[in-house]
């Protein structure tokens, strides 16, 4: 499918109670593109990311992922929520990496990576195990498959989490501040894996505070503040010569 690996959002609105977190966000990621969302905390960037795979529901606006309306079907007058089974199918094609890793502590690294294919796709355990080993090797964790998350460092856990998401063969990978919970010396190993993924043509939407990563790897940067997209454009252009005052101020503070 041509639309595989694309995200299109138009005029997204989302409130928690009376607090409007997303106020008319536009977003467009084409297949194979790396898009970074930056901005101060509370700007709504994590919420936007979480909307893209349905961890939060959207109040209003258009959200198309992989070329189809996400979580809802459009009728003449409204969007109707799809059945849980359909939502799960759509989610299974989007990989998500969390700030807090969220590995399953009751399973080994290999078990974590196998969990999606075996439990959701009902793939044969042997095949899934083989693939899990490959993926763990790909993220530099050859031979760590038998270890439990508690026995791994933060950086290793996050790489297992990336492998777990990749095991579902997603067409899009979402990263929600993947290095924010890591000790500074462990950030590099996770970013390296993400760079690898980017070079292999994965569509990636990354909420991050790592400006270096955004500058080196991202095609596009979206700067969010107060639930709106303040500035959006070519990554190097935005980071080097921001047009908007608020972007300038933010970058001065974090760089």
């Amino acid at each position: 499918m041509k639309a595989d690996g694309t995200i299109v959002a138009r005029q997204l609105y989302k409130s928690f109670g009376h607090h409007e977190v997303l106020r008319g966000i536009d977003l467009s990621v084409s297949a194979g593109e790396i898009s970074c969302i930056i901005g101060p905390s509370g700007s709504g960037k994590s919420t936007l990311l979480r909307c893209v795979n349905g961890l939060e529901t959207v109040d209003r606006g258009v959200l198309r992922v992989n070329g189809e309306d996400f979580g809802y079907v459009e009728s003449e007058r409204a969007y109707h929520a799809v059945r849980p089974q359909r939502l799960a199918e759509q989610r299974a094609r989007i990989g998500m990496v969390f700030q807090q890793f969220n590995l399953f502590p009751n399973m080994t690294a290999e078990g974590n990576v196998m969990s999606g294919p075996v439990l959701v796709k009902k793939i044969d355990r042997k095949v899934a195990r083989e693939r899990a080993r490959e993926l763990l090797a790909q993220v530099g964790l050859d031979g760590c498959g038998h270890k439990y998350p508690a026995q791994l460092s933060g950086g290793q856990q996050q790489r297992v989490a990336i492998a777990r998401a990749l095991a579902m063969d997603p067409s899009i990978m979402l990263f929600d501040e993947p290095t924010s919970a890591l000790d500074p010396e462990l950030v590099g190993e996770v970013l390296a894996v993400m760079r690898d993924l980017a070079h292999n043509g994965m569509t990636m939407l990354v909420v991050t505070h790592e400006m270096g990563f955004a500058r080196d790897v991202a095609d596009e940067v979206l700067f969010m503040d107060g639930g709106v997209a303040v500035e959006r454009g070519d990554a190097r252009e935005v980071l080097a010569n921001p047009r908007e005052r608020r972007t300038q101020e933010f970058l001065e503070r974090v760089l």
Binding site: N53, G54, L55, P84, Q85, A88, E89, R91, A92, R93, I94, G95, M96, F98, Q100, N102, L103, F104, P105, N106, M107, T108, E110, G111, M114, S115, G116, V118, L119, V120, H146, K147, Y148, A150, Q151, A161, R164, A165, M168
Partner: protein, 307 residues
């Protein structure tokens, strides 16, 4: 010769030199330590003395009845009641806990109502209530709704003392287990649900493979306590005339008037069983305690993954 940094051993019998970094550190025993021991020994000694010398304990009678057939039968029935009621109670408790977490308000409301009701009334009252339920519903028809297929059931005949005991203990236990299991669910972070969701897992799979295994550290130790509580709680059904351990002892002393010795027989058996149960319980507790999660993980690392 090395320098003696303390410079204190220059007497007629020179002691072998000891460097300060090799010297033992000694904390002197305080008077309080001896007082505590004295008090404890006095209490235990007094208790032993009185149990041995007071003839009213009638120890020969105790040992005479300790392994009588009716006592052993009662013991077996106590164990059966414990296992059956506990097993059913855990299952029903799990159902209630899952209901309680439902996003459907009527479902979680029903579970809440159940827990409120069965936790809020004494189990002894519940047991007598179930035994007399026929007074409320003398005949019940079991059948398929909206069809003619149904069987009338005589509740009075159905509700034997033993059924009433199992029903009463199970329903009561379920209320407590529901709360324990709910606490276990609450101990699993939201991120675990989200991670499972993001992989496309759905309700039962997510529950069975991701969430429930993680509730175990919180649920298992508390359940162990419940088992011990249940074992002792079965003595309540003696009021229904179920011949479990206490009731068996009672029916002997009703004839012989050797009340105290037979209560001791029953107590000793309860004590033995709870002590036996506390061995696996403390093992399981160590295995699942939160602070040693890492070691627990190592312990299971040899096993095949839970998945």
């Amino acid at each position: 010769m090395t320098t003696n940094t303390t410079g204190s051993t220059t007497g007629s019998q020179p002691l072998p030199e000891l460097l300060p970094e090799h010297k033992k550190r000694i904390t002197p025993k305080r008077p309080g330590d001896y007082v505590c021991w004295a008090i404890a020994l006095a209490i235990v000694g007094g208790l032993v003395y009185t149990t041995v010398t007071n003839e009213n304990y009638q120890w020969p009678v105790v040992f005479g009845y300790f392994t009588t057939e009716s006592i052993l039968d009662g013991l077996v029935l106590t164990l059966v009641l414990t296992v059956v009621s506990m097993g059913l109670g855990v299952l029903l408790g799990l159902v209630l806990a899952v209901m309680r977490m439902s996003h459907q308000a009527p479902i979680s409301g029903l579970a809440r109502l159940y827990v409120t009701f069965f936790r809020g009334t004494p189990v002894l009252v519940q047991l007598i209530f179930w035994f007399n339920i026929a007074a409320l519903y003398p005949n019940v028809s079991i059948g398929i709704p909206f069809t003619d297929v149904s069987t009338p059931v005589d509740v009075n005949a159905l509700m034997t003392p033993l059924t009433a005991a199992i029903v009463g203990l199970t329903l009561n236990e379920a209320a407590y287990m529901a709360e324990i299991i709910r606490g276990g669910f609450a101990s699993v972070s939201r991120g675990q649900y989200e991670a499972a969701d993001s992989l496309g897992m759905r309700g039962f799979t997510r529950l069975r493979h991701v969430i429930i295994p993680q509730t175990m550290p919180a649920v298992i130790p508390a359940t162990g306590n419940q088992v011990i509580g249940m074992l002792k709680g079965t003595s309540l059904v003696s009021v229904l005339g179920v011949a479990e351990l206490l009731n068996s002892a009672q029916s002997i002393y009703a004839r012989t008037y050797q009340t105290i010795p037979l209560l001791i027989v029953a107590s000793l058996w309860y004590l033995i069983m709870t002590m036996l149960l506390s061995v696996p319980q403390s093992m399981i507790e160590r295995r699942f305690s939160r602070s040693t999660r890492r070691q627990a993980a190592v312990a299971t690392a040899t096993k095949e993954s839970l998945l």
